[in-house]
């Protein structure tokens, strides 16, 4: 579809390009719109957070981007190639832990690596166990791990297949406050090392402001992108800095939540 001529030295395609995404579910004969014309572009290596009121369809949007749901109309392209279904080049990290309880830590991380020869597979597994700090738990089963460790395991399993893009659907929502803080720091550290393109859906505005290069604010359902906020601040970011507070306040205004309760 794209006929834009490639300029010399410049990649013609952004990493992810979404145009006119529309999705409606059939609700007893009449269509119920969920996504109402979503357009967005994400560059390679960018960390983009999606926030919005609960039930606005942000999780559904992520499922469409991941190829798990077909949009009613519109297109999702990665590197200029239309997304037609789930693909190991783009890994989805789920809200509730989706690590496989019948596999060990090693087995989970190696799940997507069966095509590799044994030694390379073992090295890759060891590398990601180390990266997420699960050393010593190689042979443990998920039920022997804490919530935070399970989430780290899921991130490691996702990274191990070396995807271009990570879609994260409220990945830390079920963790306690302290663990959530730690996981944010861990994710940033990993992102800075591996430079994956990350789209993270969250209802936690602090999380979005702390992590994202850009925060996209979605409208109430049917979802559209209401506002895009660039966050040029370097990491680590101070949650109490005036700039951070101003941004958080702007997002709250956009979503339409009363700040003073």
């Amino acid at each position: 579809m794209s006929t834009a001529p490639a300029l010399p030295g410049i990649d013609a395609h952004p990493k992810l390009s979404v145009r006119g995404l529309y999705l409606s579910f059939d609700d007893g004969g009449k269509p119920r719109p969920i996504l109402d014309g979503v357009d967005l572009t994400v560059e390679a290596g960018e960390f983009v957070c999606l926030v919005g009121p609960s039930g606005c369809g942000k999780s559904t949007l992520l499922h469409v981007l991941g190829g798990f749901l077909q949009p009613t109309s519109g297109s999702v392209e990665i590197d200029g190639e239309e997304v037609r279904g789930p693909d190991p080049r783009r890994i989805f990290v789920f809200q509730e832990s989706a690590v496989f309880p019948w596999l060990t830590v090693e087995g989970n991380i190696g799940f997507g690596l069966t095509h590799l020869p044994g030694r390379e597979r073992a090295e890759r597994i060891a590398h990601y166990i180390d990266l997420v700090g699960l050393g010593g738990f190689e042979r443990a089963f998920p039920h022997q791990l804490s919530g935070g460790m399970k989430q780290r395991l899921e991130v490691a399993r996702a990274l191990a297949v070396n995807p271009d893009v990570l879609y994260m659907d409220e990945p830390f929502a079920s963790l306690d406050y302290i663990t959530r803080m730690e996981m944010r720091r861990e994710l940033l550290r990993i992102w800075q090392r591996e430079r994956k393109t990350i789209l993270l859906v969250t209802h936690d505005i602090d999380e979005a402001v702390q992590l994202g290069d850009r925060v996209l604010v979605l409208s109430a359902r049917p979802a559209r992108i209401r506002q895009t906020l660039e966050i040029p601040m370097p990491h680590p970011r101070d949650a109490g800095a005036p700039e951070t507070i101003r941004l958080r306040s702007r997002i709250l205004d956009e979503i339409g939540v009363a700040k003073n309760i």
Binding site: G66, F68, G85, P86, D87, P88, R90, I91, F92, F94, Q95, E96, S97, A98, V99, F100, P101, W102, F111, G112, F141, P142, H143, K150, V161
Partner: protein
Amino acid sequence: MKRIESILWAALGGLAVLIVWQAAAAQSAVLPTPWKVVRGFAELARKGVLVDYTFASLWRVARGYLLAVALALPAGAALGYYAGARRNMDLLIQILRPISPLAWMPMAVVWFGVGDAAPIFLIFLGAFFPILLWTAEGVRTVPRAFLLAGRNFCGSHSAVVRRVLIPAAFPKILIGLRAALGIAWLVVVAAEMIAVNSGLGYLIIDSRNAGQRYDLVIAGMLLIGAIGLILDGALQRAEKLKFFAWGFRHDANV
């Protein structure tokens, strides 16, 4: 210390049963004494029927049970996977399921005549439904996130079925397999009282009919109990394997 204590209690319990049994036998014209039952065992062993009949029963159970496994696993998986199939088949299953396999006996004899086929058919019926329903339940309740993650990492649908759906459903399937084996072992004894002339069920009915040998009847009953215990123990052991253990923990992450 704990171990010695539990062995001691088991020995005491066994002794109490023997004493009560001995006392009851003294009052009864039918109930043989424990010692007579022990001699009955020896007699059966000497005649060679102890081993032969045990294997005859086990072989019938094996065929009926494996036939049930072969048909109930794919059928149950389909029921679990397709909500539509579940809705359509529900009434039929709910009507057939409460019918004791033994109620099929007259039909089984008419259809299959005298021989192994009739008891095997009854064992099949008894084992089929628990495996079918637990497999359907296991497949139906696989968390959606597991299947989506499987699709994300695996290239093909068959890989998702093999690497995610089956292992995720297996703890529940194992419950069905275990229940079905218990039922199969109950059914074989009853089924062997008709249509065949070997097996532990036949041993019991034949011992009564041919000379009221209640010592042999009780020997047969004890043997049936012991083998049932071993069969169940084998599948119970499977639940303890690390690969499956996650599904049998209350705090398991499912």
